[in-house]
Assembly symmetry: C2
Amino acid sequence: MIELRNSVSAVLPSASATGVARPLDAAGVRVTGGFWEERIRINRERTLRHGFDWLTRSGTLPNFRVAAGAGGRYRALGEDQGIVLPFLDSDVYKWLEAVGWELGRSTDPGLASAAAEAIVAIEAAQRPDGYLNTFVQVVAPGQEYRDLSWGHELYCIGHLVQAGIAWHRALGDDRLLDVALRAVESLERELGPAGREGIDGHPEIEMALVELFRTTGDRRHLDLAARMIDGRGHGLLGAGRLGAAYWQDHLPVRDASTVAGHAVRQLYLDCGVVDLATELGDANLLGAVEQRWQDMVDTRMYLTGGVGSRHRDEAFGDPFELPPDRAYAETCASIASVMLAWRLLLATGKAAYADLIERTMFNGVLGGISLDGCNFSYENPLQRRTRRAVADSGNGARTPWKVCACCPPNLMRLLSSWEQYLATAGADGIQLHQYATGELVVPGAAGPTRLAVDTDYPWNGRITVKILEGPARPWTLALRVPAWSASATVELNGGEKSTMSGPGVTAETRQWASGDTLVLTLSVEPRVTVPDDRVDAVRGCVAFERGPLVYAIESADLPAGVEIEDIGIPPDARPTVTSRDDVAPGVLGLDLPAIVKRGRPAADGEPPPVARAVPFYASANRDGDAMRVWIPQVTAPDGR
Amino acid sequence: MIELRNSVSAVLPSASATGVARPLDAAGVRVTGGFWEERIRINRERTLRHGFDWLTRSGTLPNFRVAAGAGGRYRALGEDQGIVLPFLDSDVYKWLEAVGWELGRSTDPGLASAAAEAIVAIEAAQRPDGYLNTFVQVVAPGQEYRDLSWGHELYCIGHLVQAGIAWHRALGDDRLLDVALRAVESLERELGPAGREGIDGHPEIEMALVELFRTTGDRRHLDLAARMIDGRGHGLLGAGRLGAAYWQDHLPVRDASTVAGHAVRQLYLDCGVVDLATELGDANLLGAVEQRWQDMVDTRMYLTGGVGSRHRDEAFGDPFELPPDRAYAETCASIASVMLAWRLLLATGKAAYADLIERTMFNGVLGGISLDGCNFSYENPLQRRTRRAVADSGNGARTPWKVCACCPPNLMRLLSSWEQYLATAGADGIQLHQYATGELVVPGAAGPTRLAVDTDYPWNGRITVKILEGPARPWTLALRVPAWSASATVELNGGEKSTMSGPGVTAETRQWASGDTLVLTLSVEPRVTVPDDRVDAVRGCVAFERGPLVYAIESADLPAGVEIEDIGIPPDARPTVTSRDDVAPGVLGLDLPAIVKRGRPAADGEPPPVARAVPFYASANRDGDAMRVWIPQVTAPDGR
């Protein structure tokens, strides 16, 4: 139904790849209003500019000019603390990828000029032999490809490749892709079939190489990706300081049945594995990733979609080890989880993957960036005990930039490509996975299909899809019904059509006429969520959700003298939906009856206390406060 | 009442120091049977030999010969992982301190010969100018005192001083003390009043210098200790990578009201602060430590006495951040806590300090070493979810030695000096703080006092104290009544004397005659312990204790197919005391009625399941298993 060549999409399986759904050409997708339009606009108008500013002042971009021989010293934001990370180049590449998607959507002279400056610097820094890594070139000359375990050289090339592909697909501009191809040639000579064995301590190159094969058609790129993936689990990296599982070298990717080690590493790796599996038609390889994904979702994932329970090693924990206060839940891990679920959705079509994309985007990902688009968190805990805790330990504190600044530009590229995740096309029609007001155009042999979506999602569960134009033959329009929706109704052209009792997909096949309208209504009744009893860290607590949003109470909403840890909830607590324009326009909150376990006693005649919950993603926007998602249920009279 | 000069004691306040209790000369203290006799004997007969073996094979001791110019390369157990720690010398010093106390108690040709080998190597390694640090001398020559933040040079000198003092006091052998004095002269030139300002990133030198002053009477040593202590909190170390609180440089020691940062660093520092405060008679300085100690006990301490909630930075967490599974609770932090509480007990006489010594020794400290004395844990979590969790992440796994081997020799020196912690003397008599079968001789101007203690503590709460000899004048015998004992009775010469209803100290003043016998009976009824409701991580759980012992259930005691996470306890569960000779001879366990929440269903006629709890210190001695101290209470029929 769709044309693949130069389609705007970060993931674009080749014509011969397996998979039941294909990405749309995002050039035909426009989000024009509502929740996501605001997030995308702020990313474009503020976050990307903010990013360029910090890439410049931190030294990250100027380091390319230093590598090109312009003089000056190598800089890093962490140098005062003795931290000069070897993978800072990737921050520029991720920012450029984001800008590529944005400029493809519409022109912006300011962004274009900033990007041109970056591209020129990158071109100048690349050595004639194709090698490119400013850290090695300036700080550790002669160490090219010597420290594969920690050096992140392949990781950086991977991000360069992805940026090059974004500019190629969105803009037809191949300057970055040419740099990337030369860098990959350098890599191929060193670690390709004619070179030595070696893999990178941080996966990323794998998915980039598969995507490069999809762009160039050059089989060597796919083979090199396979070589990198098959090389894992055979001790090429060894135990290092943190154990072989830290970088997924403990088992071959076909044999590991659970996620393990550093969360971002595991998820980036599995993105590449899915990409390779679909290109090879290797169901066994795909199945291994599906098994790991299920293990993650069943036993090692936070309610927000966040993963990576441990600060130490930034690692997945044991099953059900999910502390809310010390949740690491790195923003990049949430982003990587979205990237992986997208690939699995394309490969299998299963609604569960789109469900997780939604949960993770609305909570784990958006929690990583302030509402103003210019402050970022690295860790995303579900509880901050005290205001002081944030200041002291930086646990979940949002700051304008980071010494390790992987998350901010990763957020940028995801938000700038978010339109790509909304829908797919298959042989029989179109599938809507995420709901946002806007328009979709899907070209096809029998003529284009155009849809208009109108919704106030996630605040309202009503989604209206109108057919603007379509081929003169029957096709199927499929809409995801999220697992959180207790019920769903579908109306076609004003008449009641069906009621679904379970989650999944509701699909309508017919010869659609212009003006046909399908209305899906999901239940956004507030939900009281009880944790699995094996999650020790939140036993006796409940959380509150509404639609795709997880809620949190914040000390900013408590009366003076009452702390977050003083608050309990009666067992029969039912939340009330309230407007929270004071937090941000349009935000709906949940008010909960509360029991104050200690602290200031209630005065005579004072109304019973209320705990006011705001969406998790909107928390910590009012002077970095104490917060919690899981709230203790209070049953005994002594407040226990 | 006691003679201070050359008294066998690691802590020996000068005659002019403030403080209400004085340490005994441990040369007159003998533990001859029961629980502690076994632990002390195993330490002497097995652990110390095991330690010498590993100090040799790891390269730690041979490195002194390398530094002396004997050739060969610098070695470290972690070198395969790229880890060569700069403070390995201190492991030899701590081991030598332990051997010093042991040889003072009785001769042992094997230990004496091993120690002589070590002392000769140390003497040979010291430079003529007094400088001694094998890492700097061999690996980083020219860097003497250049990296005070991370280099641990003063930390190593501190342990050398403590070893030297042990050999001086216990054996009258001054070879190590002479080396230490020359090293301190080198330090004095560099960082003394005539040198530059600087403090060590890891406290330890402070208490060593105060003790050196107590040994030599040289005021310069006390002044240098004060200089190191007063230097903290003024940015000499700065924020580093982990923040200024990590190494207690965030606030001057007089101003910090809470413990903060790296737990061992905080506690070693406060040991030195108490030592200095008592020598200076500075009540304000002492009060600051008492306030921090109370904060720690009230808000940041595990039931085992363990402290340091976080793996990341090995740090105290926020108040009530006490995850049982990810408890760091480093063995060295428990040891440091015992050392600090001992100093505070000497300074104030308060029974609460002796209570914490007891809780920490029986649980947090002894949990750090296997029953056979030859395997050590670094972290001491109160929950291990799965057997695999131990193997995968090393979370609480006991191994024969460590890349960072601070804990094993620290355990050795504490166990070899444990007799020093049992009792004190004051102007009016003798105070027994810890209970062990043995004899005490306290010399005095009016003649020696001799006591015999007989008890099956901690298995039994009956402690018999018999006066063997005493001065012909009234004096007071005081016995601690632990806070955990709901009641206590005291009998004098067979007649009921008194019943205490609360914790503290029971004291009897009289002119004691030879053969007078006091029997203290404590209540060792099993206790069900409910956590503070602010400890989120164990909400809805209870723990079981008996006497000073914390108990844990282990999967080794569960039927096949039932996992630790499947076990709940009914709200009215009352434990039964049972013999657990299968774990170790003499051990008493607690059997608890259990509810199996999932897993294998009970067969017809099968008796109701029992969860068998063993003392925490005895856990993980049967093939590193899943374990938990805090057990969920199950109330609802669905097992939640």
